[in-house]
């Protein structure tokens, strides 16, 4: 049969065949990109990345949760003792060393993303061994009043979202 006479060997050296094959691969690559990119966040998701919060009614010692980009944000109105305790800890004692000053814009307001850095559960507020701290019920991670990891399996401190105080009572996250 004719097929047995044709082997790939002599054709491979031929530029036309190599070029045709190569262009096919390039075409497949280009065609794949829209199929992949469509799974990235779309324009509405990217645009709606701003949350405004009225913080005037949050009492001292209270922590509230708001939603930003589909994630919980903890807004903690910290008491003076909590701030003092957080600032008294030497950095050497911390797993993920960061000063309390570096984690806040105003000492009385701590704003963190309420997602445990271990495996993504939402920690309990005002829970755990630290006053004004956080405790993750999934695997027992403990955070202090500055949202820093102190015990348990989580590797990092609670992450900080970008935010801005518009005035004394209005906060913009994002």
């Amino acid at each position: 049969m004719a097929a047995s006479a044709i082997e790939d060997e002599p054709t491979r050296r031929d530029f036309v065949f190599v070029a045709t094959g190569a262009m096919g691969v390039v075409a497949a690559g280009f065609a794949a990109w829209p199929l992949i990119d469509q799974m990235n966040p779309d324009a509405t998701t990217l645009a709606a990345a701003l949350t405004e919060v009225d913080i005037g009614n949050i009492a001292e010692g209270q922590i509230v949760t708001v939603k930003w980009r589909g994630k919980p944000i903890f807004i903690s109105h910290r008491t003076a003792t909590e701030v003092e305790a957080a600032r008294a800890v030497p950095l050497s004692e911390l797993r993920d060393p960061a000063s309390d000053e570096s984690r806040v814009q105003k000492p009385e307001w701590l704003i963190v993303i309420g997602i445990c850095t271990h495996l993504g559960c939402v920690p309990l507020k005002n829970a755990g061994p630290f006053e004004g701290g956080y405790f993750c019920p999934c695997h027992g991670s403990v955070y202090d009043a500055s949202g820093r990891i102190r015990q348990g399996p989580a590797p990092y401190n609670l992450y900080l979202p970008p935010y801005k105080f518009e005035n004394d009572t209005k906060l913009t996250i994002g």
């Binding site: 004719a2 045709t20 324009a43 645009a47 009225d54």
Partner: protein, 291 residues
């Protein structure tokens, strides 16, 4: 052979004659009887306009889109919604080309319903770029009560309006890339109020009866770029703006399409060469082109 040709011609002729008979002899009186149906299509076809976004390298004219937006904002938006367009879209590439700051300032001029807040109330706040254009009416019923009819949403109007091109034009349209029936129609309608006595008479509207009274008049919108403040100019600009609103990715589409077309054309030539090379091998060769 001659006999075969004769029979071939005979069958073809019989087919065409019978078809022609069916179409003409009995067709015409029938058409006259069903006058009601043909009345709907009696109005003239909108004339074709020149658009910058037509054809292979079509692009929107940013200044025109900005003027068109001004017409929409100052005139159309009093009654028509534009609910699929967000303020942020005005700064998107391939659009009117407003800056982010301009969009922010513009959005802030609108009051957007939001809520409920912590007290459980719906409240109004200044708009943000991510908000969509609000409508002057809370719902369709309110619009119908106030205006007598519900003005159609304008987001897709330039694609939702068209007219029959008829034979044989519809065969040529895909080749000359005529995709602007919508803007042509909108332009024609806005210039079709030619009966001074009846503000609801429109030359291009099916049945000549239009619910919307003449919306534009010379000088109604104050252009800042020196363009003529005339109905024709307003109509042209707002039709272009509506085309953008309906098809915001047009520029990206045509630009990408050009690349794809060039790529595939080269690829086709290359493939043809490869095919010829393989088919010229001795075992495929039988002294005639096997195609």
């Amino acid at each position: 052979m001659r006999q075969e040709n004769a029979s071939r011609r005979g069958i073809g002729l019989a087919f065409v004659t019978a078809l022609a008979l069916a179409l003409t002899a009995s067709g015409r009186p029938m058409l006259a009887e069903t006058g009601q149906g043909s009345n709907l299509f009696e109005q003239p076809k909108p004339p074709r306009q020149e658009w910058t976004f037509n054809g292979f390298f079509g692009r929107y004219d940013q200044a025109q889109l900005q003027r068109g937006f001004q017409v929409y904002r100052e005139v159309c938006s009093n009654c028509h919604s534009l609910k699929l367009v967000a303020f942020r879209n005005l700064a998107d590439p391939g659009g009117p080309g407003f800056s982010e700051a301009q969009v922010k300032a513009l959005a802030a001029k609108y009051q957007i319903k939001d809520g409920p807040n912590d007290a459980g109330d719906i409240f109004e706040r200044p708009g943000r770029p991510s908000d969509y254009f609000p409508w002057n009416f809370p719902n369709e019923q309110a619009a119908r009560t106030a205006l007598g009819a519900v003005p159609p949403d304008m987001s897709l109007l330039a694609k939702a309006r068209s007219y029959e091109r008829g034979f044989p034009l519809f065969l040529i349209d895909p080749i000359i890339q005529y995709q602007e029936q919508g803007p042509d129609y909108i332009y024609a309608i806005l210039n079709g109020y030619t009966n001074d006595k009846d503000p609801n008479w429109n030359e291009y509207m099916p049945g000549h009866k239009i619910a919307m009274p003449m919306p534009l008049s010379d000088g109604a919108v104050d252009y800042e770029d020196g363009s003529p403040k005339a109905v024709q100019q307003y109509a042209k600009d707002v039709a272009a703006f509506l085309m953008w609103a309906a098809e915001p990715k047009l520029e990206e589409r045509k630009r990408l399409g050009f690349g794809v077309l060039i790529f595939l054309s080269i690829y086709a030539l290359l493939f043809f060469a490869a095919k010829n090379k393989i088919w010229s091998r001795p075992e495929a060769h039988v002294d005639l082109d096997t195609q």
